[in-house]
Each structure stands twice: as structure tokens, then as C-alpha cells.
Amino acid sequence: MNDIELKNVSKSFGERQVWDAFSCTFKAGEITCIEGASGCGKTTLLRLIAGIEQPDSGTVTGVPERIAFVFQEDRLCEDFSARSNLRFVCGSSKTKAELSAHLKELGLDAGSHQPVRTFSGGMKRRVAIARAICFDADCILLDEPFQGLDAELKQSVMDYVLRYTKGKTVICVTHDHSEAEYLGGRTILFPPSDNLT
């Protein structure tokens, strides 16, 4: 697994320049947290790494083939159960028992056939996180993943994420400094004053 490298990346949306010749390296197998105010380009950075957005100039290299992404929105298949939502990305690579175990770890009723549209915001968030973890990706991108979870639940979900992402490249965007501290690893403050390696 290689380090993820952004070299002289520039990105703008219309008139608004988000990145100008930005360079940064994310070490393979490590957790990096990105903290910063809204609108400073944190989400854009994750989207560039995921290949959803293309840079206007510069390069993004070393991105593994299998990436999981927890978006700011849950993006769930609302008419399906929590387990079906995991099955959506995993296919048959995971057994029913394995998927149920993941949901149970996050305090969700694994046997329920209830569609996720009936779930609370916090429950939906946990399903979205479980889906990313179950995908067995080499790189996991988390965009404010613990938003909407109460303090106790947040800690158990962070423990779950740490348990299943050992040795994987994790890039987590957050507003909350305590989340970055708990997850450990390197923290980058945005907007960065200088290029980062």
C-alpha cells in the first residue's frame, strides 16, 4: 500500500478557488484527522482523493483501488433493512452472520427487517459507518462521521472504527477536536498555512 500524495493540486468551483497548488501526503496505514472551519475545502479534499472530483491541475497518486467513504449525508437505500444496506456494498463477500455481528457491535437490531427510513438519525449514521467498514477497503474516508451521535454512543462508534481500521489508511474530517484526539494519529488543521508532508 502506497502513501496517498497530492502534488500542486488546484481546484476551483466557478469563481471560488478552493485549493491553489496544494500538496500533502497521507501515510499509508495511518489515521489522519483533518480539522477546520466549514467551507475551507475539507470535503473537497476527500472527494479529490476518492476520484469523485478531478483537480484542475496537479496530481493525486497512491490511492488504493478499494476505497470506502462515509459521506456527510447517510446515503442509504431507505427502503431496505440495515443488513441489506451492508449487503449492497459487500455482495456475498460477507456472510449474514458477519454482517449481523457488525450491526450488533454498533447497537443496531441485526435481525430487523425494518427499512432504514424508519431509523433515527443516529441509527442511520451507524449503518453508514458499518457499511464503510464492512467493505474491507484499504483506504477509508470519513466526512464528519460521528455527527449526530451522543457522547456515549460516539465513543463506542469511534472504538468500533479504530478496531476495524488497524493498518488501513484512514482520513477523517471533523469539526470536533476531541474526536481527532480520540482517534489519534496525525491532525492537520485547515486551511493549511503551508504545504504538508
Partner: protein
């Protein structure tokens, strides 16, 4: 529907029947307008006639077959056109022609080209296909773009995208399309049988009722056609909903 609404609807229907009875009494000629009582009497006896069930099964079978073909082809082409823009453009002239050409023109053209027995199937297909196709296409187009982005990122294969993303988007469109298309298929199918004088069909019975001035028979068959249309719609929509429920429990 609450009890008050049911009561008002029931009263309106009773009033309409009363109006029909009064109109029939005023005209006073059975061959022009049979009264609801006469139609009811005829309805009680018509099913005992030897060729009643054969006519019902003949038309029901052919109209259902035409609709089912339209349902299958409409879904497949709707999904494909939703994914492949060029296919939507390619199909555009055909779908537009089928949608806009009067059904009577199709019936007469078909009478020149093919076996009368197949006419009902083809006409039911032609009337139902654009409704199913257009709605499925619309449903596919309405799939959340953010979900498409997610599916691409997680490399979800097309079969799973179809089940988990496209089917829920298509569901409301398809259900309403089925309700509309089944009714239209019955109307057009029977019209084709009347114009084409298809032997042993319900349409032929309607035609005979007109020729022999049997107004009670004409209205009796009309009521039966409405009942068959509503019944097939209810059954089919129930089956489609069951399939969706089954898929959602996967």
C-alpha cells in the same frame, strides 16, 4: 377512506343510478337505453349462456398477454434507456409514433397485416407499452445522483444497483403506470375486437348487441368489461407490490 366519504360516494352512485332509471323511463325504448333494472336482470342470466365464459377467457387471455408483453418489454427497455442515453434517443421516434398515432389507425393497419386472433394482443401491447416504458424511464432518471456516486465508488455491480437503487425509484412510477395501462389495454383491446370482429371475443358480443339492438346486452357487457378491467388491475398491482415487498426483504 373515512365513513363520511364512503357515505357521500355511495349516495352519489345511488343518485346516478336513479337518474339512469328515470332517463330510461322517460325515453321508454329499450333499444335506445335499457334501464338499470333490465341490465341487472340480464347480468344475472348472461353468465349461464354457452359462449359467455369462452368469450370472457378469450378476451381476458389476449388482453392480459398483450399487457404482460408490454410490461416486460417496457421495463427492460425503460431500464436500458435510463442507463444508455443513445438507446433513449434511438427509441424516441418509435415511442412517439406509438403514443400519438390514433389506435383506430393501428387496428386497421393490423387488420391488413395479420391474423385477426392476434389483433387484441398487439393492440393491448401497443397501448400499454409507452405508458410502462415512459414511467420506468422516468423512475430510473429519478434515482438519487448521490446514491449513484456512492454505488460507483463502492464498485457496486449493476445487478445490485438494479435491486437496491433502481427498483425503489421505479416502484411508484411502475405501480401508477400499471393502473393506467391495464385500463387502457382493456379499452383498446375491446375496441380492436369490435372493429376487427374477432370471432368468439367480448368485442364481438358488443358488436352483436349493437346489430340486434340489444341495449341491455350492450350495457351488460360494458359493465362486465369494467369489472374485468378493475379486477385485473387490482390483481396485477397486488402481485407487483408483493414482488417489491419480497425484494425489500432481501
Amino acid at each position: 377512506m373515512n365513513k363520511k366519504t364512503q357515505l357521500w360516494k355511495g349516495l352519489s352512485a345511488a343518485f346516478a343510478l336513479l337518474l339512469w332509471q328515470l332517463l330510461a323511463m322517460k325515453i321508454g325504448m329499450n333499444i335506445l337505453l335499457a334501464s338499470p333494472v333490465e341490465v341487472l336482470k340480464r347480468l344475472a342470466g348472461i353468465w349461464k349462456e354457452t359462449d359467455f365464459w369462452s368469450a370472457v377467457f378469450f378476451s381476458f387471455g389476449r388482453i392480459s398477454l398483450g399487457f404482460l408483453l408490454a410490461f416486460a418489454v417496457g421495463i427492460v427497455l425503460g431500464i436500458l434507456a435510463g442507463r444508455l442515453k443513445f438507446l433513449e434517443y434511438f427509441l424516441f421516434p418509435y415511442v412517439t409514433v406509438i403514443k400519438t398515432v390514433p389506435i383506430a389507425s393501428f387496428i386497421i393497419l393490423c387488420l391488413l397485416w395479420m391474423n385477426f386472433n392476434q389483433l387484441t394482443v398487439l393492440i393491448a401491447f401497443l397501448i400499454a407499452f409507452p405508458v410502462i416504458y415512459t414511467n420506468v424511464l422516468q423512475g430510473i432518471r429519478s434515482t438519487d445522483k448521490k446514491m449513484r456516486e456512492l454505488a460507483k465508488l463502492y464498485r457496486v455491480p449493476w445487478q445490485r444497483r438494479l435491486i437496491y437503487m433502481d427498483m425503489p425509484s421505479v416502484k411508484p412510477y411502475l405501480l401508477s403506470a400499471c393502473s393506467v395501462a391495464i385500463g387502457m389495454a382493456w379499452k383498446a383491446g375491446i375496441a380492436a375486437e369490435v372493429i376487427g370482429l374477432v370471432d368468439g371475443s367480448v368485442g364481438e358480443k358488443l358488436y352483436q348487441a349493437k346489430v340486434y339492438f340489444q341495449n341491455a346486452d350492450l350495457l351488460c357487457w360494458t359493465i362486465l368489461i369494467i369489472l374485468l378491467s378493475v379486477l385485473s388491475e387490482k390483481i396485477f398491482v397486488f402481485l407487483v407490490k408483493s414482488v417489491f415487498r419480497g425484494v425489500e426483504k432481501l
